[in-house]
Symmetry: C2
Subunit: 359 residues, 2 copies
């Protein structure tokens, strides 16, 4: 086994989740990532934790969704997560387009039925990570070997140093009332963040980490955003998405590719038309886009916004937490002709932060 | 996908378990059996049932067991099964010897910690079946294609006709007080079955089915048994096992291969030295031994006995149900120089039953 797989498992178990004796652990990985599952099971054994290995199979999910007329809450799965302490999930299936022929409405109904399961899982100590497979290498336009290097370099960052670097931006946002994001001719959006919390993501719930993120005040978002970078959702790529916000809500949308899918995501429920997250990518070790949100949203010269559910920890007591069965991140490239303003002051210009050399 | 896989899944869902709308279903298969998982997920979708796909990975299990000093009950897994209606499990990993270097004591401790989980699962509607993989073909000494034919022929039997054929033997045993099994020079064992129930296995909990089985009265077993056929347990083969019973208990044992493993199974707990099952194979469609208990024990000219736990449904109210973390089936070849006597009358001679032509 590639020794970096054991190293990856140790970072998950030590840094990201702190698996301890007696912990009930759910490990949800695709078959292709069995090596990582083996390494995690070994660590669970060493520590006296109890692993359960769920198969994350896009083929089985697709078959189930396509055959179903309707979905109900899976009570056994909910009971499982209620008794779970640590939840580790990794992507790395054999075909990222496996869900391409599942109706968008079907996915929305499926997610609605699983909302409680999702909420329960998010209350655990959890970690979402990536196993480097040929399919994801292909998605990135890279050889499998180069992609393996890319993934293992990104997950084995010096997370303490990264936390300190990111703390600069947390400090700025924690004191902020309003954030404005401007990029090119097409993106100019403002949102209140007053009263909400900014979190420092240094490789815990997401591995790799490398962002700071908060929740916009629900009804405060105003303006237009053009998302330069494509996103994959349900096995399909949405490209060139545009959203226009009034009083926090998406009032119009378009996309250059798979616009209908974008519309169906926004129609999932009441909360899927509001932003649940504003994130600022700060991981300089991720130096190329790989068409994979887990990595792309962490890049140093990006911001991302998610329509759908807000993370509870980011929402202050005075503010409303946006709830939705969806949470879809979308990225704006901030490397050129761009700026982030906080309460009228520029804190990032063309990807360089105010606290970095060369600002 | 081989159309026989969908057919296999339909037999599981229709005949073996009757998956219905609203059922919470756990599907525990090795990665190699993903096609069967996909077919089962499709059926769950069609019927409005809720599938959860657990990965049955011998590699992950081995890594966990070898690394652990001790085991505790996995509370999250127990909670899962408490809310489960149907449990489908299939063998079909890439290497049947994967557990060969796990200590026997470790396996025994692991099973003890999981006794409640096992008990909970057995209370569900469950089905154990086989996915034909190259590793199991190799174990059988067959090509993969020939083994696929063997497996699919065995699982797609006319189960109604089989049930009727087997009912003859159920009738005999239901009225019986004592059973004696004699084979060659080395096997001569008697046991009471009075008050216990004989079940007709026609492809429900085991697919393929093809046996009738009951529980011996716990302290009644007397005599010696030589098990002609090898068995695989924890990735190792026990060959030429001999057991001697007094007052129901195994008082001495030996084996020509892996005797120590046999000893450790018997030492698991108090119940693992008593028989939990007497089974009589009656499936004439299984015409060759494949070193796989699920098939071998169903052959028409065999009987099998299991040390360890008795199935609750086979134990009458007046009798004690043997409890154990183990349940290990072992086979006696009854094709030559053999007979089964029930209350002094021969009911099978050299593999032919009293109700068959040629007796």
């Amino acid at each position: 086994m590639d020794p970096r797989i054991r190293e990856h498992a140790e970072i998950i178990a030590n840094h990201s989740t702190e698996i301890e004796s007696g912990d009930n652990v759910v490990i949800q990985l695709p078959s292709q990532a069995e090596d990582l599952a083996v390494a995690l099971h070994e660590i669970c054994g060493e520590r006296g934790a109890n692993p359960l290995f769920i198969n994350y199979s896009d083929r089985a999910d697709r078959a189930f969704k396509r055959a179903a007329d309707d979905f109900e809450e899976p009570g056994h799965e909910l009971a499982l997560y209620e008794e779970t302490d640590v939840f580790v999930i990794a992507r790395g299936g054999p075909n990222v387009s496996e869900g391409a022929d599942v109706d968008a409405d079907t996915n929305a109904a499926y997610n609605r039925a699983r909302e409680e399961v999702k909420r329960e899982r998010l209350e655990k100590t959890w970690c979402l990570t990536q196993f480097p497979t040929p399919a994801h290498a292909q998605l990135a336009g890279m050889s499998t070997e180069a992609y393996e290097n890319f993934v293992y370099d990104a997950v084995t960052l010096d997370w303490d140093a990264q936390r300190e670097f990111q703390a600069n931006m947390v400090e700025i946002l924690d004191d902020a009332d309003e954030v404005r994001i401007v990029s090119g001719e097409e993106t100019d959006v403002t949102m209140a963040v007053a009263g909400n919390e900014t979190l420092n993501d240094y490789g815990e719930a997401n591995l790799p980490g490398g962002e700071v993120f908060t929740a916009p005040v629900k009804d405060s978002v105003e303006g237009e955003v053009y998302f330069d970078l494509p996103l994959y959702r349900y096995g399909r790529q949405i490209e060139g998405a545009r959203l226009r916000f009034e009083d926090g809500q998406v009032v119009s949308h378009s996309a250059e590719r798979n616009e209908e899918l974008l519309g169906s995501i926004l129609d999932t429920d009441e909360g899927s038309r509001y932003l649940g997250e504003l994130g600022i990518g700060m991981n300089r070790a991720i130096d190329t886009f790989t068409n994979n949100m887990l990595f792309d949203e962490k890049m140093g010269d990006t911001v991302h916004m998610a329509v759908g559910s807000a993370y509870g920890e980011t929402v202050g007591e005075e503010n409303e937490q946006n709830e939705s069965a969806e949470h879809v991140d979308m990225i704006v490239d901030m490397s050129e002709d761009s700026r982030i303003e906080v309460d009228g002051e520029v804190v990032q210009r063309n990807g360089t932060f105010v606290f970095e050399d060369g600002f």
